[in-house]
Symmetry: C2
Amino acid sequence: MAVFAIDPRLLSASEPLASLKLSEARLQADARWPWIVLVPRKVGARELEHLTAADRATLMEEAVAAGVAVRAIGAASGRPVEKLNIGALGNRVEQLHLHVVGRRADDPAWPDPVWGMGEPRAYSESVLAAAREAALTALQGMKRK
Amino acid sequence: MAVFAIDPRLLSASEPLASLKLSEARLQADARWPWIVLVPRKVGARELEHLTAADRATLMEEAVAAGVAVRAIGAASGRPVEKLNIGALGNRVEQLHLHVVGRRADDPAWPDPVWGMGEPRAYSESVLAAAREAALTALQGMKRK
C-alpha cells in the first residue's frame, strides 16, 4: 500500500504548520506574502476530481480557515491582507495542493498572480515565529483530532 | 434589494454558457486555453468566506464539472487538457469568480499561470461553436433546474 508523502519540492519551499482533517497545512517560506499551502493526505491525487465530494467540501472549508490564518499572519506583521488568492495549479509539482495567499495592492506582484514570480524572500526568525503563532491560532478549530 | 449582476469586465471577456445551481458558467473568450469562469449569483460576494459553507460545497462541485467541460473543449479542438488550473484571484475584478483553465505543457504560458499573460486570442466561429457544444454537454447535469 502506498504511503502518503509530501513532494520534496513542496517540503523544501514551506514549513509545517498543522495537520488538518484532510490536509497538511504548511507555511510557504516566502516573507513576501502570507501564504499557506494545503496538501490533502491522499496518495496519488493530482486534481480535485481525485478527491471524493466529501473531501472536496472539507478542502474548501480548510481553504477558508487558511484564509483566516493568512489574514492573521498579515495583521501580525503589520500588513493587513486586502484580498485572498486561492489557486490549485500543479504545473510544476503535480501532487494536489492548494495555495491560499494574502495579497495587497502594494505587494511585489500585484495585480498579477504570485506563482512563478521572482525569488522567495526568507523570513526573519522573529517574523516567522509571529506568523506561525498567528496562523496556528487561526487554524486551531480545523486541526485533526 | 440589490440585484445580482455580472461585472462588466467579466461580461466583456467571456460568453454565456449555462446557469448552474449556484453560478453562471461562462466561456472565457480566449482561444489560447479552454477556460470557464464561474460567477456565483451572490450580490456583494468577493471572497469564498462570503458564501455559506453549503454554497461553497456547491461551487466546488461546479468547479469539478467545469473541469470536465474544459477537458471536453480541449478534446474537441484536438488539444487534450493535461492539467487543470483552478483559481480565485479577484485582484483586478473584485466580484467573486472562479477560473477553471485547461493547461498543456506546450501552451503559451506553461508552467506559469495564465492570468495577466499577454492578450486574448479570439476564437474562430467554428471552433467556438464546437467548444460551446462540448462544454454544454459536459455541464448538462449541473444546470439550474
